[in-house]
Structure formats: C-alpha cells, structure tokens
Amino acid sequence: MKTNDVIIQFTAKIVFFIIFFFSIHIFMAGHYTPGGGFVGGLLTSSAIVLLVLAYDLNTVRTVLPINYIHLIATGLLLALGTAAFPMFIGKPFFTHFFDYFTLPLIGKTSLHTAMLFDAGVYLVVVGVTMTIIQRIGEDD
C-alpha cells in the first residue's frame, strides 16, 4: 500500500538542495576551515539518501542516472593522477602546487592542486556510500 507522503516528498526536494550545497561548501572550504572531501562526500550521499527515502530507488535512479562504480573509478583515477602528475615534470610523487589568481566574477582566489586530489576523495566517498546503500536496499 502506497501512503500519501506528499509532505515528506516536498520537503525532501528543498532540503536536498540545501544539504547538497552545504556539502559542496564543506568540500570547497576544507583547505581553510573544517571540512574536506571526505565529509563533503558523505554529506552529498546523505542528501541522495534523503531522496531515496522520500521516493524510492528507481525514481532516484532515473533522476540521477549515475553509475556509482564509474564514480569510484573516476575518483581513484583523479586522485592517483593528481599524485602522479608531478613525476612527469621531474618532481617527486605527490608534490602539490598552489598560487593566487584573480578570476572573473569571484575575484582573488587561491587555487591548489590538492583540491583535485580532494575531489577524487569526494567522488570515491560518494560512489562507495551510494553503491553500498543501493545494493543493500535492492537486496531482499
């Protein structure tokens, strides 16, 4: 029997974006204030889980047609690539580069290759969490 959970579905639609943007914020701010790829990834997954709870797995899959396994692979490759890249220009493995740039719209910003690595962590965490939850949820 399908209950009429319109309130929860409506709330979820809004709260999803709040959590999602918060997670992006946490991820971006990680280098200077608490946060980072790991927590950011977990929060993003919890936002998706909220959708799963309000609707169901298949609906979420149609809304977010992501293969989470690919996400894991992309994350790992990104992390490894960031770490390995300096070796090609004669620097030790895992050398990071950073500098300050003035970008249009945002203004003076610091850009750091560590963020690419953190993005890899973020993707892996989202991928793994969602793989686990999806699989266990589907299993009967």
Binding site: H31, I69, L80, F94, H96, V124, G127, I132
Partner: protein, 803 residues
C-alpha cells in the same frame, strides 16, 4: 678439480640412463650402466700405489665461496679403500642386477638412476673433507636409499620399509648436521683435516661432548647400531642387488666411515670409547642372537649385517684406546687393523651371501627358510658360494673371516688390560660378550647355509621348480667368494695395500706413514687364548646348531610387546594420534576461542613485559584540567557501553552503540577536533543505519550458548585486555621520548602548503599517500559488498566457518 668431478660421474651418467632405456630397448640398460663403476674402479685403483706410500690427494671445487663451502675430494688410505669398495662392489652388483632384474617387467630406468645417484652420493660421503658437503652427500644417500627400498612401490611392505629407513636415517643425519655445526663453531673451520690438527684444544671446548653425542647418533642410525638397527631388516623389501650393495657393503658402512674419520678428534674422550665400543658390542650380540630367530633368508642376513657392523664399531671404539698410549696395552694396536680388515672381508662375504639369497629367491620363488631344503644337488655352484661365505662369516679357516675374527678377539682380550676409564674392572665383559656373540654368529651361519641346501627337498612347498641359476648371475658372487679365499692366503698383501693406509688415517697420532703400522697377519700364530676361544666357538656352535630344533622355540616366548619394532610403531602411531588429538583440542573451529587465545596471549605478553621491563610509570605532570562536562560525558559513555554489553535485544545494543559513537563525537568537539567530529557524526549515523538494515535478518541473541567456565574466561581476558590498554596508554603518556612534530605543521601550513585547516592539509598534502590508499580501501570495500550481494553463489554452499 678433475678428481672432484670424478665423484659426479655416476650422477651425470644417471641423466643419460632414461635415454638408453627408451631408445635401445633390446639391450638391457644395465650394460651401459656397468661401464660407470668399472671405469671408476680403474681410476681409483691407479691411486693405490701412491697412497700405500702415505701420499694423499686432494682437490677442491668451489660451490659457495662466500660461505667457504667447497666440494672436496680428499683421498687418503681410508677414503680410497671405501671408494674402491663402492665402485668395485658396485660393478659386481650392476653385473648381477642385469641378470636379476627382468628387462621387460621392471622399470629399469628408475632402478639405475637411483643406483647411480646413490653411487655418487656415497663417493661424496667418503671423499668429502668438508663438513657441509659431507652432510649434503650423506642425505643424498638417505634419499636415494629411500627410493631404492621403495623400488617396488606397489607393495605395502616396501613403502613401509622405505619410510622407516628414511625416518631413522634422516633423523640421525640431522643430528649429525648439528654436530658438524658445533664442530665448525669450535674449530672455526669446515675442514675435517684442520679440525684433526687442533684436536687437543677441541676437547676443552664446552660443545665437545654435544658434538660427540650428536655425531654418534648420526653414525649409529646410519650403521644400524642398537637400538636404531630396526630399519635394516625392513629395508630387505628392496630388490636383492640393492640389499647386497647398500645394506651390506656400502651405505651401512657410512656410519663406520664417519666414526673412523672422526676418531682422531674424539678418541681422547672417555665417553667416545665407552659409547662406540659398548654400543658396538651390544649390537654385535643382539644382532647375532636374533638372527637365529629369522625365517626369511634376507632377514637372517640383515641381522647378521647388524651384528657384523657392531663388531666393526666396537673395534673402532677399541682403536681409540690407543691414543692413551702410555696406559694402552700393546695388543690394542690390532683393533684398528682388525676393524678395517673385517670391513673388507665383510663386504666380500656378505655381498656374495646376499646375491645367493637373491638367486634362491629367483629360482625357487621363496625366501622362507622353512620351505627350503635339499637344494644342494640342484644348485651346486650356489651352494659352494653360500658355504664359502657362511664359513667365512662364522670365522672358520681357510676363509678371510677367520683372520679378522682372531684379531677381533685379540683386541677384545686386550681391552681387559687397559687400566683406564674403569676398563680394568668392566673390560672383562667385552671378551665374554664377544665370545658369546661369536657362538651365535657361528650358529646362524650354519643355519643359513644348511637349512637351505641340506636336509629334505620339499618340492610341494616351492612355487617354482628349482634349477641352477644362469651363469651371468653367478659371476659376481663367484668373484666375491674367490676374494674370500684369496684374502685368507695373502692377508698381508691386502694389509699393505689397503688396510695400513686406512689405519694410518684413523690413528694419525700413532703412525706417520702406512709403513709404520707394525702388524703382521698370520693364519697360525701359536696356541694363543684367541685360538682356544675359536675352538670353543666351533665346539659349542656345532652343539647348538645340532640341537637347534629343540631350543629355537624360545624365541617365540619373547614377548612381542617389548620389541624395538613395536616401540617404533607405537611411537609413530602415538605421535600421529597424540598430535592429532592435541591440535583438535585447541583448533576447535570456534572463532570465539581463537579470539580468546589471541587476546589472552597479547595481554599476557604486554603486561608481563611491562612488569619485567619495569616500564610502567604514571605521571600526572602533563595533564589538562578536568571539566565537569568531561565527567558527564564519561558517565554517559560508560553507561552506553555497559548497556551495549548487557542488553537482551539486538535493537537495544545497536542503540547503545550509536550512543557510544555520538558521545565520542562530542568528545571530539570538546577536544577541538571539528573535522573528526563532523566525520564521526556522519559515519556513526551511516553505520547505525547499516546495522539497522541487517538487523531484521538476524536471529535473537542467544546468551546461554556458552558454558559458565568459558564465560569466566572471557570476563577475565577482557578485563586483562582492558587493563593492558590502560596501562600502556598511561605509561606511554607519562614518558615521551621525542617531541611532537605538530609544531612544524603549524608553522608551515600556510607558507608551504597554502592552506589553513591543518587536518585537511595533512590528509591531502603532507601525508596524502595514506589518503590515497584509504580511498582505495574504501573502494575495495564497496566492490566487495557489491560482489557479495550480487554474486551470491547460492545458499547450497552455506558452510560458514562459525556455524
């Protein structure tokens, strides 16, 4: 170097044997093999003239130079004599085996490969001057002998015999390796010659006695001395050429060789003299006494070999007395000579007797002496050879055994006059036991030849109709029997050629050159006590042999339970069963028990080392002030933990766990770790959710599954582990050896890493390597869950370990 390579010639020839076997099917493979020992015998006989004059030949071939391990071929009187025995008897045995083993029915390539391997190994044993390579060849003889005994591997008895000989000889070999290592530590060299050079100093070393005992264990197991002789009768399951070669002439004499070779080092010790002489004489009596009990022809010969090896061993022990020359009687000089002389004689007559036993088996189909009889007229040549061998074994003139037995009795009588080490009182036992053993030797020699060839012919009991063996089979035993007689008439030629150089090698402390050995053998040396003893042996021996049917049954009354074979079987089975039971007692297949073992041992090890190393210290110098909300949190944490342990339902336990997790997150907040607090909160939520996911599929907790003592054990061990962790944490906190590197991160986080959040910068920059692999771990966990759920192999395979 060429001299070293000669040792390996049989091994190289062994590689070619299968090719000859496969390609030239019409010719018996043995003919090709025969060339090898014959060539080697010719090569080694060229050394005789030089070695007679006291020359030695030595050559080396580096094997592992950095560890000072080399192959050495060292030819002096002793090793040349053994080399000639190995190649000479080897040639005859190969010749005999050509006629004994059927070309069509037998796997000849296996046989000759093993045999050639054995020959190389044996040559290596007797020529190695290097302890480690000596051990290498020694084990190679054990292995090739194992293969040869198990040659008919489809028979149970063969496999049993092979295994038994392997266990005992390899066990002894390992003991010997221990002795070699001790010797090399004592003398700081692997060379036996150099060790002999530092002989008096070695005796002072604390390892000396250990080296001595371990070496003797090696020698006694290989040479089938009491109580290790039990493998030899079972090794009679081997083909007869193997028995003739390995178990009478060569391998069993490796132990004799070892004792002879190391006599110059150990002779100084009282223990050596008592052990070698004592065990030798006990073996001599034991073997000769039980040989009369046997009903299998090869069984008689096996016990006879045991007994004769004991004789040689006791003579070697007596020869060690000579080093104490001021207290040693003059006649003891005969001992070493007699040992080597008897070794040659034994190789000749025992080889021929084994071959005869093989011929009888081959021609009549049985080796059971109770079925045999009256073969004299049908197999006259075999009978003649058997009679010559047996009379020589019994010590009758005009055969070589007479001479060596006389010298043996001389040496044993001389032991009585040795006023040292208590020989003046107990020494009298030696000639008496030797005399008794000689009587039994006489009885079983006659028993062997007359029960087989004389008496009534029993055609109905024989599987085959007997007739004389083909001449090819008889050549080898005939040659050996010829030697038996020839040696009697020219003992001094043999003495000068072979025995004296060997004696000089055994007793370098007595003689400088072989020519200095002032012993002359004579068949008639006056009316001496030993001649009277021999007359007594013959008289009583004949009496006993004639009355044999009356008293042979006493052996039946000997209780089976107290035999050494029974002890060995019981030991092996007991070992098997006992160890099985032991491992089943603690490997019970329960995870809980294994966890108890692990945690218990960790707790014991850590707490004990804290106590014994005096490492436990507590100091509260560097402790932060405690706030009321710390205490509140700790109380909450403790309550949640206790609840998790004691509750009756799973749901409550999961909630308890969640409470613990959130409290920990609060601790992180208090201790200024915002990143940790964030992560802990999210992770705790997810893991509680996962617990709840699987919760519905789990059965109720069964608290009553464990027994009470087990529960007490669990409580004890968890308390111990808790104490351990607390103690370690307190001690570690109270004594910091190096300052923390946190300062460095604090100072450089902005300039070097371009960041502000130290935790995150450490994670992605300073120590990003760890993070890289942590996300890999996470990915693997995700994949594993995916695989576990998706690729479930079906519930039919549900044999889980802990169910």
């Amino acid at each position: 170097m060429l001299q070293v390579l000669t040792i390996f010639i049989p091994m190289l020839a062994a590689i070619l044997v299968p090719f000859f076997y496969k390609i030239m099917k019409n010719i018996h493979t043995g003919w090709f093999v025969l060339a090898v020992p014959v060539t080697l015998a010719i090569i080694y006989s060229t050394y005789i003239a030089k070695v007679m004059e006291g020359d030695v030949f030595s050559a080396t071939l580096p094997w592992i130079p950095s560890l000072d391990i080399v192959f050495v071929s060292y030819l002096d009187g002793l090793s040349l004599l053994f080399s000639l025995l190995i190649t000479g008897i080897g040639s005859l045995v190969v010749l005999y085996s050509i006629f004994y083993l059927d070309k069509q029915k037998e796997k000849l390539h296996n046989f000759y490969v093993y045999l050639l391997l054995f020959m190389s190994a044996m040559l290596g044993v007797v020529q190695s001057d290097h302890l480690i390579t000596l051990y290498f060849f020694w084990e190679l003889t054990s292995i090739s002998s194992f293969l040869l005994i198990g040659y008919w591997y489809t028979r149970d008895a063969s496999r049993f015999g092979a295994l038994k000989s392997m266990m005992i000889t390899v066990g002894g070999g390992l003991m010997m390796l221990g002795s070699f290592i001790l010797l090399s530590i004592m003398g700081n060299t692997y060379s036996i010659r150099e060790l002999i050079g530092m002989m008096p100093d070695l005796a002072q070393h604390p390892f000396f006695t250990w080296a001595l005992i371990l070496l003797l264990l090696g020698a006694f197991t290989k040479s089938a001395q009491f109580p290790f002789y039990i493998w030899l009768p079972d090794a009679m399951e081997a083909p007869t050429p193997v028995s003739a070669y390995l178990h009478s002439a060569t391998m069993v004499k490796a132990g004799i060789y070892l004792v002879a070779r190391f006599t110059p080092i150990f002779a100084i010790s009282e223990l050596w003299i008592w052990l070698v002489t004592g065990i030798g004489i006990v073996t001599l009596f034991w073997g000769s006494f039980f040989a009369v009990k046997q009903t299998d022809l090869k069984g008689i010969l096996a016990f006879s070999t045991v007994s004769q090896l004991g004789l040689i061993m006791s003579l070697l022990g007596a020869s060690a007395v000579a080093i104490h020359s001021q207290n040693a009687p003059e006649a003891i000089k005969y001992a070493a000579f007699a040992a080597i002389f008897h070794l040659i004689n034994h190789a000749t007559f025992k080889g021929s007797l084994f071959m005869i036993a093989g011929i009888i088996d081959h021609e009549t189909g049985t080796r059971d002496i109770r079925k045999l009889g009256g073969l004299m007229s049908m197999m006259p040549l075999s009978f003649t050879i058997a009679a010559i061998g047996s009379f020589s074994m019994a010590g009758l003139p005009p055969f070589n055994g007479f001479l060596s037995k006389e010298m043996f009795l001389t040496a044993m009588l001389a032991l009585r006059n040795f006023d040292f080490f208590g020989f003046d009182t107990w020494g009298t036992l030696f000639p008496i036991v030797a005399w008794l053993a000689s009587i039994f030797t006489f009885v079983y020699s006659f028993y062997f030849v007359f029960k087989t060839f004389a008496g009534h012919y029993k055609p109905e009991q024989l599987p085959r109709k007997p007739h004389e063996a083909p001449i090819g089979m008889l050549i080898a035993p005939m040659l050996l029997a010829l030697f038996v007689i020839v040696i009697f008439f020219i003992p001094n030629v043999i003495g000068d050629m072979f025995v004296k150089p060997a004696v000089q090698a055994i007793q370098p402390f007595l003689y400088d050159t072989p020519a200095a050995v002032d012993i002359h053998v004579a068949a008639w040396h006056g009316l001496t006590p030993e001649l009277l003893m021999t007359i007594g042996i013959v008289l009583i021996g004949v009496l006993l042999f004639v009355s044999l049917p009356k008293w042979q049954s006493i052996y039946q009354h000997f209780p089976q339970t107290f035999t050494l074979n029974n002890a060995y079987d019981k030991f092996m089975v007991g070992l098997d069963v006992g160890l099985n039971r032991l491992s089943r007692r603690y490997m019970i297949g329960s995870m809980r028990h294994y966890l108890l073992y692990m945690l218990g041992s960790i707790a014991i090890i850590v707490i004990a080392s804290l106590i014994f190393k005096d490492a436990f210290t507590v100091s509260f110098d560097d402790v932060a002030p405690i706030h009321p909300y710390h205490i509140i949190l700790i109380i909450v944490l403790v309550i949640a933990t206790i609840m998790t342990m004691l509750v009756k339902s799973r749901l409550a336990a999961i909630i308890g766990l969640g409470a613990v997790g959130y409290t920990v997150a609060l601790f992180f907040v208090i201790f200024n770790a915002p990143d940790l607090a964030l992560t802990q909160l999210v992770i705790e939520t997810i893991s509680v959710a996962l617990f709840l996911l699987v919760f519905y599929h789990l059965p109720e907790i069964k608290r009553k599954s464990a027994t009470a003592p087990f529960k007490i054990g669990r409580i004890l061990i968890s308390v111990a582990v808790g104490c351990m962790v607390t103690l370690v944490a307190l001690s570690a906190h109270s004594q910091k050896l190096v300052p923390s590197i946190a300062k460095y991160y604090e100072e450089t986080v902005h300039d070097l890493a371009g960041g502000g959040n130290i935790v995150n910068v450490i994670l992605v920059d300073y120590r990003g390597f760890d993070t890289l692999f942590e996300i890999t771990v996470l990915s693997i966990a995700g994949m594993a869950i995916l695989a576990m759920i998706k690729l479930r192999m079906g519930k039919k395979e549900g044999q889980h370990e802990n169910k």
